[in-house]
């Protein structure tokens, strides 16, 4: 209690949560993995953060930074307890520099809010995770978040130029700058995507892009999943570069349609949601190319969204798909593997076959243009035997992705969900080097402990943890 009193004295009583009922909100992120912090604090300034970090150090308590808690790999959970630093009150956009297309923000700024603030200047922040209405830029930086439009514009790291950091010992350091290059090692590039294990970010300088002159959204509709995936192979192979190319299979789009009423065709086996952006002439020319490819590959119809409203509905359906699936199934487990795009058709077939073999319902809704899969396996967390089968199926799918030359996570992060998988991708030497780099920043391991790195010696033991459907299962027991 002494520590709580000290935190209260430091930040004010309304900035410290420590009652079990209050802490329950913070024992989840996007997963049903539970880990309860001992306290949650809400700093308003960098100095607050420094003071919190110093206190935690004195008490040798873990520190876990947290944005909106929308992460999908347990990155913001206090796995070893300790102090969770919530950034909801450090949510100011400090500057939008329209002339130089830069913005400086605090970590708690909501992703979409930045684009809204930049819009009057004809600018926007490109990374657009599906959770962009809620997720914070600090969280985006930690996870190196992606989104549908990263196909054309790159992920978070491509848009971050500089960071202000509070190191785990309380020291404040600035890395990068507002200019495109900064002399020395690219510490900004190292920090983005380090999942809150190296430093706490207290200020972010980002690049803003000019809003495209024209946007066109196409919906290619298929009677066979194979034709949809083959279309993606062809689009990529012919070097047509849409701004986004998303796939929804029949099961998923029916779940989405029941919720969003966006006009997704209920009787189809799959659709591709393709967005084209740029100069009017470029968009028109690409639309012709895309239509041709999709038709050749067997699309029964290629629709064009007639107006902004239709487009927004389609995207609303796509971006809220996980929530929509939550209406159908008590729980679901979502993966984030990436494969070479040439291997999409066989990989989707494999996912189908594996899930059929285990008697599981799977839906696929993913960033097809990037080869970034999100198979969603539906299950009921109360059915332990079924959950065991989910784990085994997930194992097989991940092994297939890796064997295909891919990776275990394209945008959701490793966190505490996939850390035991890391040896499947990286050698002991690779991981030892990453560990040494970790220790340069976080030698005591107090900052976000037991994330990213495997905690056991056993190589490749997959410990998957289900992601709750929205409004789904009540606080479920931790699956083992």
């Amino acid at each position: 209690m002494k520590l709580i009193r000290e935190l209260q004295a430091l930040l004010g009583r309304d900035s410290v949560l420590h009652q079990p009922a209050d802490l329950m909100m913070y024992e989840y992120d996007g997963s049903v993995e539970q880990a309860r912090p001992d306290a949650v604090v809400f700093p308003r300034t960098r100095e607050d953060v420094v003071a919190i970090v110093r206190l935690a150090n004195r008490e040798s308590l873990p520190i876990v930074p947290r944005g909106a808690g929308t992460g999908l790999s347990g990155g913001a959970l206090a796995r070893r307890g300790g102090i969770c630093i919530g950034f909801s009150r450090m949510n100011r956009i400090l500057e939008v520099d329209a002339v130089n297309q830069r913005a400086v923000v605090q970590p708690g700024v909501v992703n979409l809010d930045l684009s809204r603030a930049a819009e009057p200047h004809g600018l926007y922040f490109a990374p657009d995770p599906s959770s962009q209405k809620a997720c914070t830029i600090g969280g985006n930086v930690a996870e190196n978040a992606g989104g549908p439009h990263t196909l054309a514009y790159g992920v978070t790291t491509n848009h971050v130029l500089g960071l202000e950091l509070v190191l785990p010992d309380g020291e404040v350091v600035r890395v990068g700058s507002r200019t495109v290059d900064t002399p020395g090692y690219d510490l900004t590039g190292l920090l983005v995507g380090s999942e809150g294990t190296l430093a706490i970010v207290t200020e972010i300088t980002v690049r803003l892009l000019r809003l495209p002159e024209a946007v066109k959204t196409l919906l290619a509709i298929y009677d066979r999943v194979d034709d949809a995936t083959q279309s993606v192979v062809e689009i990529t192979g012919r070097a047509i570069t849409p701004a986004a190319c998303e796939m929804l299979d029949g099961w998923t789009l029916r779940a989405v349609e029941a919720y969003a009423h966006a006009g997704y065709p209920l009787d189809s086996a799959a659709v591709l949601l393709i967005e084209l952006e740029g100069l009017r002439e470029a968009v028109e020319a690409q639309a012709v190319d895309i239509r041709e490819v999709c038709t050749q590959c067997g699309a029964r119809e290629v629709r064009v969204a007639r107006d902004a409203r239709e487009r927004e509905l389609l995207w609303k359906g796509r971006k809220n798909a996980f929530g929509a699936v939550g209406r159908l199934s008590p729980s679901y487990y979502v993966q984030d593997g990436v494969i070479p795009r040439t291997k999409l058709p066989q990989t989707l077939r494999h996912i189908d076959e594996v899930c059929a073999r285990y008697g599981l319902q799977v839906g696929n809704i993913f960033h097809a243009g990037d080869g970034n899969l999100h198979p969603l396996i539906a299950f009921d967390i109360r059915d332990r035997a079924q959950f065991e089968r989910v784990v085994q199926a997930a194992n097989e799918i991940m092994a297939f992705c890796i064997a295909a030359g891919g990776t275990i996570t394209g945008e959701h992060g490793v966190g505490m969900e996939k850390n035991e998988l890391m040896p499947l991708l990286f050698s002991e030497a690779d991981l030892a080097m990453m560990r040494r780099v970790h220790d340069v920043f976080n030698p005591r391991g107090l900052l976000n402990p037991e994330k990213v790195f495997p905690t056991t010696k056993s190589c490749g033991e997959i410990r998957v943890l289900p992601v709750a459907g929205s409004g789904a299962a009540p606080a479920a027991p931790r699956p083992r």
Binding site: N100, N144, T179, P183, A239, L279, P340, G371, I408, L425
Partner: protein
């Protein structure tokens, strides 16, 4: 030769084979870095052999500088020690190329020219349109951290590098990243190697995403009486929906240099270009690609914008004329070096809104030094400033050194970051080419110790003497 040196030489021969170890002093001259000559050069045939060399060097405390075509070794400080040149030119395989996935894995010694030939067969390319492109290797290009006129549209290697395999200072092979276009597993250690001059590891292989080459391209040059007008055009383009692939602004002196004969040493034939650069004028150069309708509109609108900004002339480059101009844009720095061996070339990152103030300050520095200057600006916010000098003697060095402090100050005054990209060794003895270390230097030093605990990888070459 000492016994230790003899045994080191024998070890090198044992690793790579006697025919791939060079000990002849005359032959070693080609491996000099800022006048420092190594005791041996070794050309390993595989990454494992290269790792063995580094491991041996670590054990013997011998300093190693990795190299490829040795085109960018002029970047960086004078090495504090340099015993072994690790020549990776035999590591020249394309490891994996999946045209359908637009991804590529290559060994470090592959030259950009060879690589682009391979990619071209599939209508693709890698937007590393960097200086010395006809000779430079992938590994050297990444380690040198050089950028290119295509940066406007494609960014730098940082934006399309997917993963790297490297050798740390203990001789251990490590990797990070992946071979697919999206991966957030593990730390992005590969980004640390970019521009690090091999001080954190020897890059042995790299994975990239490739890009579709535009079947057609066009180009446009606009001439202006003042920097102000040329920069006004840059601003108007930035505020428009137009998407040029290249957007560069050249000072009259750079234009004059572009008008000269293209040096044969750069390994390509290049026609004349003088007529495109009228004397005393600033030039804005824009390259375009894409569908014909897209390029036509961009040409039309760029022409209109140029007129609004006060251009004295706008030239649309024909298909035969473009290569001569584009090659000069790409090779602007080597051009300066070829004609002005005593020049100091600064790379200054600056917010585009500060270009004009910076140009004013730099012009004054040139006047005070009594020397001509030449500037080439990348629209995204990089200004290459050359303080020109033909001679490299003591007088020249003294005045260059005085001017150097002023250049760093001028950059800092507008919130920019300056480094000396290239200058004569004599000048490096007087100045710090990286400028003063920043607040994050302590972290960099600790990282260096992690990657290279023995301090044998290119010591003294990087920021703060790392």
């Amino acid at each position: 030769m000492t016994t230790a040196a003899t045994s080191a030489m024998a070890r090198l021969q044992g690793i790579a084979g006697a025919s791939h170890v060079i000990a002849d002093p005359a032959a070693l001259a080609a491996y000099e870095v800022d006048g420092v000559r190594p005791r041996a050069a070794v050309r390993p045939g595989s990454a494992d052999e290269a790792a063995e060399v580094v491991g041996m060097a670590a054990a013997e405390k011998l300093a190693v500088i990795a190299c490829g075509a040795r085109t960018h070794l002029g970047i960086g400080g004078i090495p504090s020690r340099y015993e072994i040149a690790l020549d990776l030119s035999r590591l020249n395989r394309v490891i994996a190329y999946d045209p359908g996935d637009l991804t590529l894995g290559v060994e470090a010694g592959v030259t950009l020219a060879t690589l682009n030939d391979t990619l071209q067969q599939h209508g693709q390319f890698l937007p590393l349109f960097v200086p010395f492109m006809m000779r430079a290797t992938i590994g050297g290009t990444l380690a040198a951290g050089v950028d290119s006129p295509l940066r406007q549209h494609y960014g730098t290697a940082r934006d399309f590098l997917l993963g790297v395999e490297s050798i740390d200072g203990a001789g251990t092979r490590v990797k990070s990243g992946s071979r697919v276009v999206k991966c957030v597993a593990g730390f992005d250690l590969h980004k640390l190697h970019l521009g690090a001059l091999g001080t954190l590891g020897v890059i042995t292989a790299a994975n990239f995403r490739t890009f579709p080459a535009f079947p057609e391209s066009r180009g446009l040059l606009a001439s202006f009486r003042s920097a102000e007008e040329a920069l006004d055009m840059r601003r108007r383009i930035a505020e428009s929906p137009l998407t040029p692939l290249t957007l560069e602004v050249l000072s009259p002196e750079m234009g004059e240099l572009f008008g000269r004969d293209f040096p044969e040493s750069l390994g390509e034939r290049c026609g004349p270009a003088a007529r495109w650069f009228p004397a005393g004028h600033w030039t804005l150069a824009a390259a375009l690609g894409g569908h014909a309708a897209v390029m036509e509109r961009q040409e039309r609108e760029l022409t209109r914008i140029a007129e609004l900004s006060g251009a004295t002339g706008v030239a649309r480059l024909g298909p035969e004329e473009r290569p001569a101009v584009w090659a000069r844009l790409r090779e602007a720095l080597p051009l300066v070096q070829a004609y002005f061996p005593g020049a100091a070339i600064y790379r200054i990152s600056v917010l585009p809104g500060e270009f004009l103030r910076l140009i004013g300050a730099l012009a004054q520095i040139g006047e005070r030094a009594g020397r001509p200057t030449a500037m080439a600006l990348r629209g995204v916010g990089v200004l290459y400033f050359s303080l020109l000098a033909r001679e490299t003697g003591a007088n020249s060095v003294e005045s260059q050194a005085r001017a150097s402090a002023a250049v760093f100050q001028a950059a800092a005054a507008v919130g920019g970051n300056a480094v000396v990209s290239w200058c004569p060794t004599e000048l490096k003895q007087k100045i710090n080419v990286w400028g003063a270390p920043r607040g994050d230097f302590d972290l960099m030093q600790r990282l260096k110790n992690v990657f290279d605990p023995g301090g044998i990888l290119a010591p003294g070459r990087f920021v703060g003497g790392l």
